[in-house]
């Protein structure tokens, strides 16, 4: 068919299905697994790797594992997999540490409060944001502190040495993030400030903590903090770690917030100034609400890093989740070849669940903000 000048289509070509199959598993495999010889080779390697890695992994975790209720003898048997019976038996220790059993209801209330407050806080559409935030950032920490340590309203006093497990991991990371958010915001504002002395102090503070590893900060907090205090003051061990963690994470948070401040168009600053608002009003009513909204994913990522980093407090002798697992692994009562590995797998999956959920949340928020921006 030739088409010359003056061609006009008379027969409209209807859409027809593509030649060959466009759907179905075979075509999918052809396209995604065997599109070129090199790809096919990679697929073969991938399948061989999975064949090699997955069955032993499955056997360890499920197939040959000793499930809760099993005995230590089963765990000691030749070829036994993970000793879940041991995790089940020591579960309370991993969650509450040395907290007295009859007082478990106190941390449990704290866990419930935490869930009840944080879930609506993280949902962008949930109402009463301001009240919710106030409850979470101010009321919740105070109530939790008195609930956990007791000594008031006739509740038994429980010293922090007895706190432990997942509870302490959550406490350290939550206190760390709750305290470092205001500190980080102030530092970020200071770093953006036009006042040279304030700017220099903030830059020095931020860069110092970002430059050194957390472990040296924790050493510093646990060894030097008592030296810094007036003679005769004793500083609680957990508090020392909390101070270290907060200083450290506020520096990282400051950089995240600064990113949000820098991303704001200049016009926002100028608009605020043109309304005749003073610096603090301008910052509080115009700049921060916008900047903070955009750094929520960044703050969540900071929280993930902090949550993982809390495991370092085990080095300065605090019984967080990792430390309880580590110390329980030398428990003679449950001694078996797979005891240590089972403990690590358990701790790893706990950490993983929290971190993965948060990172998905952060991605989701990022996506939401992105599209919101375009509209």
């Amino acid at each position: 068919m030739t088409m010359d000048i003056g061609y006009v289509r008379t027969d409209f070509v209807p859409a027809k299905p593509a030649p060959g199959r466009t759907g179905g598993p075979i075509l999918w495999a052809q396209k995604n697994l065997f599109s070129t010889p090199t790809n096919a080779l990679f697929t073969v390697f991938g399948i061989l790797f999975l064949l090699w890695a997955v069955p032993p992994l499955y056997n360890f975790i499920i197939g040959h594992a000793v499930m809760p209720g099993g005995t230590v003898e089963e765990c000691r048997a030749e070829g036994a997999g993970a000793c879940w019976a041991y995790i089940y038996a020591r579960f309370n220790f991993f969650i509450y540490g040395f907290y007295p059993i009859e007082e478990y209801w106190r941390p449990n209330i704290v866990f419930v409060m935490l869930a009840a407050l944080i879930i609506p806080l993280l949902m962008p559409t949930a109402p009463f944001k301001r009240t919710n935030a106030l409850l979470f950032f101010v009321v919740f920490p105070v109530v939790s502190f008195y609930l956990l340590s007791g000594g008031v309203f006739g509740m038994r006093y429980v010293p922090t040495e007895q706190w432990g497990g997942l509870m302490v991991t959550l406490i350290i990371s939550l206190v760390g993030i709750i305290c470092s958010i205001p500190l980080g915001i102030l530092l970020a504002l200071g770093r953006q400030s036009k006042l040279p002395i304030i700017k220099t102090l903030c830059v020095l503070f931020i860069e110092l903590w970002r430059a050194v590893p957390l472990i040296t900060v924790l050493f510093m907090a646990s060894i030097m903090l008592p030296l810094f205090m007036p003679a005769g003051t004793t500083v609680d061990k957990l508090l020392r770690a909390l101070v270290g963690v907060t200083l450290f994470s506020s520096a990282y948070l400051a950089e995240t917030v600064r990113g949000g401040l820098q991303a704001l168009p200049r016009g926002q600053f100028e608009a605020g100034a043109s309304l005749g608002l003073g610096y603090w009003k301008r910052t509080y009513f115009i700049i921060l609400p916008q900047a903070l909204k955009h750094v929520i994913p960044g703050i969540v990522n900071n929280f993930i890093a902090l949550f993982k980093d809390t495991s370092l407090v085990s080095i300065v002798g605090i019984f967080d989740l990792l430390n309880t697992v580590q110390s329980a692994s030398s428990d003679i009562e449950w001694a078996s070849p797979t005891q240590a590995v089972t403990g690590y797998v358990f701790a790893a999956s706990m950490f993983w669940m929290f971190c993965f959920a948060m990172s998905r949340y952060s991605l989701w928020m990022e996506h939401r903000l992105d599209t919101g921006h375009k509209r």
Partner: protein
């Protein structure tokens, strides 16, 4: 509705100099179909482009214009039918495709200059590494084409330092440095500010005057009127109508063409 404008370039175009061969076929598309997975994007395309022809493809957005010219240098694959460019049929053979692409220049809507290279390096990259032309010679050719697009003074700058119109002219010069026999333009002025459209169109017109075989996807109807010797109207993945610009604009035949023209030509 896509942005359509009519920028008239204020000069007479020397159409007499534009020789169209009657025997030498540059591109031939025969019964070509293309699908994006299940979506039938190009349907039964038949097109024969003679050496020296200037073709403008118009049509509403999503009608498959860009996809069609992207098929011609196989940035997209077709599934049915034949595409023959400079006597070579486009198949999956990579070597052949590279050979075809050397002879077919392409100008993109978003310029796609290499931002990490200077303008001169942008222009000499392909001549040196594809054609094996000595550097000095490649640079001389590059300067020649930069002069032709009227920005020789920008040779040592980076793309990011140039305006959109200048970047697009560089992109045209970059294609010309490979001394292609066919040039494809994929909405070359759509991403430009209105005041820059003219400078790019001027370059395209002067190319046409030199007898370059050109296929342009564009909404510049003024350009089509002045330069094209054929206007093709596409809708829903098929060629609906084609005619010489005179008749195409004054006497459209198909309902869709009429509708389209009434929308853009007030």
């Amino acid at each position: 509705m896509t942005h359509v404008s009519e920028t008239n370039v204020e000069r007479t175009v020397d159409t007499a100099a534009m020789q169209v061969s009657t025997t030498d076929v540059a591109i031939e598309v025969i019964g070509m179909h293309k699908w994006y997975s299940d979506f039938h994007v190009l349907r039964d395309i038949n097109l024969k482009v003679m050496r020296g022809e200037r073709i403008v493809i118009a049509g509403p957005s999503g009608s498959g214009k860009s996809t069609l010219i992207r098929c011609i240098n196989r940035l997209e694959e077709h599934q049915e039918g034949q595409i023959v460019v400079n006597g070579t049929e486009l198949t999956a053979d990579l070597k052949r495709i590279d050979e075809v692409r050397r002879e077919v220049g392409m100008v993109f809507q978003h310029f796609n200059l290499f931002p990490h290279l200077t303008i001169l390096q942008n222009l000499t990259l392909a001549p040196i590494w594809v054609r094996g032309i000595p550097k000095a010679e490649a640079e001389a050719t590059a300067m020649h084409y930069l002069e032709r697009v009227k920005i020789p003074e920008q040779a040592q700058k980076f793309p990011g330092q140039l305006s959109g119109g200048q970047q697009q002219r560089v992109a045209i010069a970059r294609s010309l440095c490979m001394q292609p026999r066919i040039m494809l333009f994929d909405e070359p002025t759509s991403a430009l500010d209105p005041e820059m459209v003219k400078e790019v169109l001027e370059v395209m017109i002067s190319l046409a005057e030199d007898g370059m075989t050109m296929i342009c996807v564009t909404h510049e109807m003024g350009f089509a009127r002045q330069v094209a010797n054929r206007v093709i109207f596409m809708d829903q993945g098929q060629i609906i109508e084609q005619n010489d610009p005179e008749n195409f604009f004054s006497n459209p035949q198909h309902e869709r063409t009429k509708l389209f023209l009434s929308q853009i030509l007030h």
